[in-house]
Amino acid sequence: MGKIVFRNFKIFDGEEFIKEDSLVVENDVIIEIGEKKKSTDIEIIEGNGRILSPGFIDLHAHFRDPGLEWNEDIYSGARAGAAGGFTTMVAMPNTKPAISEPSLVEYVLTHSKKANASRILPAGCVSKNREGKEMAELLKMTESGAVFFTDDGDPVSTSDLLRLALLYTGKNQPRIMEHPEEKSLFIGGQVHEGRVSALSGLKGIPEATEEIDVARGISLTRETSGRIHFTHLSSAGSVELIRQAKKEGLDVTCDTTFHHLTLNENAVINSGYDSRYKVNPPLRSSRDQKALWDGILDNTIDAVVTDHAPWHIDIKDEPFQDAPFGIASLECAIAVLLDYTNKNHTNVPLELILSKITSSPASLLPEKWQGLGVIKEGSLADLTIIDLDRTRIVDCDTWQSKARCCPWEGIALTGWPVMTFVEGRKIWADTEEY
């Protein structure tokens, strides 16, 4: 493969912007930060002051493979991630069949390698066949390469099963990722219980749906001295519960999504109940949205994820009530967030935002992947170039993903990833830029 030199970049190393403006990659590894002597006979990538960041890490995406491949598969998903600047994505196991045994973990890894685009790491189910009855073979799946355990799409069905899984995995196995949802409050729900449910009559999903399960998980983590990661937080109350649990010293982490940070229930109302805004957990109040930003600011929230939930347009393009939940966002999520922070003048530093999609989520992966999410000598050359001035209109028809619709379709956003490298290989470039 040889050497690549990146010159004239603002380099973000996972924590901060560093003083060096160049780095050298040899084969799949970053060998030098700050080019010591000008090399010749190499490939040069000229930055012109653009940002060079560790490749983005998405701890939560759905690829529908195996079983529902007309909506997305590992190949289209891996390319979609690449086009979105993501170099590593964690695949949720709620496929058909569910990823709950070692051979299926290997299936995801094998196809991910063949895709030759972004890296897809599998999460395994907590329970066998994701039925919520008994624990799956968690240790065998770890050995095969599972990086989280989750029954995502559903919460771990009973408190007893969650307690056992937390005990069993302890501090040395992949984390339990909980989809926080108290089922009896969720049934039939369509939107946030609040303004949007009052105006539409659609059945509301109260904030308590999420908060009760977060409280359960915290309580069981304390009980078992285990560790838990809550995914796609949407409510102010959940953020506060986790803030307190962290203060207490429990090993509790969490993420929220690009769409919960940038949209709220008013988007659903103003769209006339357009199904593209239908997502679970639902887009909540502006108060909840603000609490999520506060959680980012004080590091209560560890990561920002896409919860990329692709549906073929024939399935998603239905009246609100008849459409499935889910927003597909891999290919525009970064731009959505950068554009939002820019236009809304949030006081969140760019370094902090970038850390939530690089070093911070990387730190939640198993030992083997601890070198991801940072730029340092010796780390894997997973890199993403960001152009903060690039403006593009979101055009789902050009997507790599098979899900050709999203809430931002037709909207001009500023601030895009423009080139993506995995292990030193260029896997995607914005052709107008490079």
Binding site: G194, S200, G201, Y273, P319, Q321
Partner: protein, 317 residues
Amino acid sequence: MNVMPSETGQIVWRHKNVIDLAGWSREELYFILDQARHMENVMDRPIKKVPVLRGKMCVNLFFENSTRTRASFELAEKMLSADVVNWSSAGSSTAKGETMRDTAWTLEAMGADIVVLRHRSVGAAQYLASKLKRAIVLNAGDGTHAHPTQALLDLYTAWKHLGNLSGKKIAFVGDVLHSRVARSDIIGFNTIGCKVVVSGPPTMMPKNIEALGCEYENDPKKAVQEADMVYLLRIQKERQQDGLFPSVDEYHKWWGADKNLIAYAKPDALVMHPGPLNRGVEIASDISDGHQSVILEQVRSGVAIRMALLYLCGGGK
């Protein structure tokens, strides 16, 4: 007709479709009511037909059971000389798995000019309108969201009796949570200047009810106090099975409209109900059939209002 409101004047009709009443102005509402008055005159003629929609094709696309609303639209369309096709979900290709957008495009290909849609899903009318290239959509009820023609016929009925509605008080009692009638009526009566109070079991009230522009009063007697109009909302008996209230008997005792409750309203207050009635649940027979009841007038108003909307949206140019 008591009063011709000064608000009524010529306005530029800007609505292609009728999806819901959010964002409609008071002037527009009065304008429609005034148009409905002319339409009601047609209903009294020996030959109930005018050629306003001659040569236009109306499709009544009903994905949910409805007898009265569909009949009301059909009568309105026929009195305006439209050609009418009734397309209901039973026996249609929907049963064979056809999507609504394919149904819509099929109807448009057949030459439909106006589609009247009743659908169980919130936002269905808006969705259909976004898929049709030429035909217009009148919403005859989309899930729990909106039923704009019901709200307009209620406004028309109230206006005929009370004249200018500004400052008048209306109390809605019953299941607001699941009611598209309540949602559209609250917006309509609010926009036209009424004070709107709602009452009913807290389990059948939306959270953030103030977003609808009304206040909630738990005690129905206080809610109807000095009201000019008392509007009873239909209680679907399956809500009791859902556990939202313990028994029909308890509901009727607490929230049902009987002589005792109506006595708290103004002496000549109008008693309204969207139909069909659940006698002995949300309303006692002596009230529904009593001298204050305008329930059958509401039914008649429905035809006039729908004629007015069909004329304004479908053939008025």
